[in-house]
Symmetry: C2
Subunit: 350 residues, 2 copies
Amino acid sequence: MADRLNRNAKPTLTTRSLHPENKEAPFPFIGNDSVPTSLFYKRNHFDYPSLTYLNYWLPIGGFVTTPKVFSMQDLKNLPSKTLKVVLECAGNKRSYFRPKVFGEQWEKGAINQGFWTGVPLKTLLHSVGIQKEVTEVIIEGYDKGKKTGSNTLHSFKRSLPLEKALDPDTLIAYEYNEQPIPFEHGFPLRLIVPNWYAMASVKWIKQITLHIGTFKGPFQTEDYVYYPHVDNDQDSFPVTIHNVNSSIQQPLDKQILTKGSHTITGIAWTGLGSISKVEISIDHGTTWSQTAIQRSVTDRYAWTSWTYEWVVEEKGEYTIMAKATDTNGRTQPLTPFGTEKGTDIMLLIK
Amino acid sequence: MADRLNRNAKPTLTTRSLHPENKEAPFPFIGNDSVPTSLFYKRNHFDYPSLTYLNYWLPIGGFVTTPKVFSMQDLKNLPSKTLKVVLECAGNKRSYFRPKVFGEQWEKGAINQGFWTGVPLKTLLHSVGIQKEVTEVIIEGYDKGKKTGSNTLHSFKRSLPLEKALDPDTLIAYEYNEQPIPFEHGFPLRLIVPNWYAMASVKWIKQITLHIGTFKGPFQTEDYVYYPHVDNDQDSFPVTIHNVNSSIQQPLDKQILTKGSHTITGIAWTGLGSISKVEISIDHGTTWSQTAIQRSVTDRYAWTSWTYEWVVEEKGEYTIMAKATDTNGRTQPLTPFGTEKGTDIMLLIK
């Protein structure tokens, strides 16, 4: 028996469902920089597409001047951009909601950050020519299947308002962390919509269609819609940009620690502006202390890491709460969709 | 791009902590027979031992007639036995307890079943000779470290009452599912104590010591003790045999299903006798229906699989509860250490 057996423990994804494959990142262990592919959460609406072609072409049509198909080489010959982007599933933290919400029971790990490289969608739209009545751009993925309660086959497709499609940072990406995009995350091409929840960042792009009017696909009219009222659809509005949010990474929830000094670490993110402060409370929200935040000036779509040095002298049970505020003045609500403050952690000091 | 990219999703362990490595099985996906090593939950008190020796010897000493060391070949030359055994962490389902309990927040997946092959400990004890005052047998593992709140180095060791050590089914195992025991699960030798919670099944056995008196190691006097009273230690007693228990495997908690027929599946287990029935309630415990159970007559330490065909005609929210009863008349309590019925599942029927 040799030393090689004394291997280091590696964090792994948590299985939420297999068909389709939905797996959560082990949030306390993903670090605070770019996340390796092995710890990139997996979120699928359907089983993986069966992609059997050997050459990939991206068609762009609809209300365009000149429909075109782009080869991978065509795309790689165009000027590219690399952005550090947070992708977060719109259902992240759903398991903490009270009252409970049906669907995948994500804890804190349906979130990812990494470097995406690709061509601005804007470049391609200008290349095909946008007819002047166009209001939206529909991006369709190769993934398809039946939705629960329906016998119709749907492919996953969503529209972006033209203005967002023309944002110079909306990318048709072909690399993640300087490698071809992993198959499970959209190889060969994935739309990347910074600041929006990740359902907008369509994987395995099949085609792009310029559209006049309001596209009514089920992934933006049935799913990914906020319903403020329980009993009717009034005032409903689509899920788009990230809310201001933060999560504690270390220590672990329900961890047992000893008296003394402990570093509390976490991340915060927002889809509007940037994080201006992150605060910690150890007295159930009565008083708040500011954490030290490491905001990136250059990476405007990245999350903000924060740390807090906590000195604890008394044994007992403690609850640690965190809340973030962004430069638009939005503050993270402490009661996500209910009464339980879901992302607090409890500690026992011995 | 070839078909090989259309790979199947594989279930993976869920990371609870890395130092020591504690990972939970993806319970809904482990099947109902013997669990492959890749889905065997990992439970450690300390980091993995650094085992650098090339030849393994098992010393047995203390109050014996003739102390001996056994080589692996010695052990393999002795008559062996293969048993299908449930191993369950004493903290399994801790995350569901209300009030909350500190420690690793296991859900339903700190449980495993598989085939263990080895020599009855009894054979070895008779080989070394048991002095007549002996009351306990101490099994020590190679894993060691400091416990939280202590600066003393402890190796993981526990005692068995002599009677349990002499049970013909208490094994010094060297194979799991017909392969050498995986390193993380105790290679080369692991004690297997059927019917007891898995903290008794010491991994990486370093030595065995026959003992007179009551061994007071912290893993049986501080940890792994039930304290019936919150404020004092009165009436405390050690954790030993499995309580009667059951868990629902499918459907998943908070799953969204359609009207019609659904099969509810799960397992049940006990440390006393065998499972006599498993019942299901869909009306919050008012009425109960018997499930179909597949109890093994030959594998007395295996879990019992059960299924229930559920026909649902009405849309709405449902709560599914399961409870098991064993042949000793013990029935699974519905309120584990508190008021929340932790292992129920909730379903939304659309």
